[in-house]
Symmetry: C2
Subunit: 179 residues, 2 copies
Amino acid sequence: MKKAIDAGTVMVPCPVVLVSVGDKDKANIITLSWAANVCSKPPMIAIGVRPQRYSYELLRRTGDFVVNVPSRSLFKSAVICGTKSGRDIDKFKVCKLTPQPSLKVKSPGIAECPLNIECKIQQIVELGSHHLFIGEVQAATIDKEMLNAKGEPTASKMELFVFLPLTDEYWSLGDQMKS
Amino acid sequence: MKKAIDAGTVMVPCPVVLVSVGDKDKANIITLSWAANVCSKPPMIAIGVRPQRYSYELLRRTGDFVVNVPSRSLFKSAVICGTKSGRDIDKFKVCKLTPQPSLKVKSPGIAECPLNIECKIQQIVELGSHHLFIGEVQAATIDKEMLNAKGEPTASKMELFVFLPLTDEYWSLGDQMKS
């Protein structure tokens, strides 16, 4: 038996990513869950950002961004970077995060995040409260400590987590499922 | 220390949703991970679908779709609905899933999925291998067994899972994180 609930943004689970944008003189971090891989060839990521956010203008001006995937140890930083404004604080400094020069884009990545995905903005779709920035993946880097003996990315080492807007909760990943 | 990896669709973790589309005479299911909440007001979900997929034409023709969030018990059905084509099999029948009349859209939901989100297509953005269908949420229903004594959705009851394209693995959720 089903019950109707509010017709909101209830899709779960959602990723939690720290998007860094700007240049070496002025960069900001914004935590987002409205984010997804959306195209395989070319690889593209879409992120939804409110025009009121400080990062919005930086995204438009810079033309690129880095999607940084955090480990659970960065949970508090993720919350700070999602709730505080870059107009008021330097999030890199407050969260003790280190800008990492990118390979292909102007925006720096975040050194402490195990996975960094560099994107160049191809299109901006104005939806409503959020505008969708669609970026083409230019490069990706992973922390060598996330690799197994064969040099392959290893999910268990990454300690990923998700956001559930349905219940306003953050959950860690559990175990790999075998088919 | 970072290492460059293939600039692909490596963002993790990703949701796994069963998108149902069509009408009561002819409906199909397609499992997708290129999916996200992308706008809060109005609430919108975007899904990336290859034009070659059987569901692609159904989406265009029907003009709406339902995002059904599966529990782990539906993992095998999710894999079947992501790898088989609706041109060859009736996925509702093969997976023993039940079409559920929707409240606001033509496409039926999937009764066995604990959460169903009805969307009306507002925009289609042609990206590359995938086209992005942006749907506005019209209604949402949840299985009453997913509610706690207060009638609130309870994540632990939903037994959610995610897909990690970085390692081509499915992982269950673990525990709620406390800040």
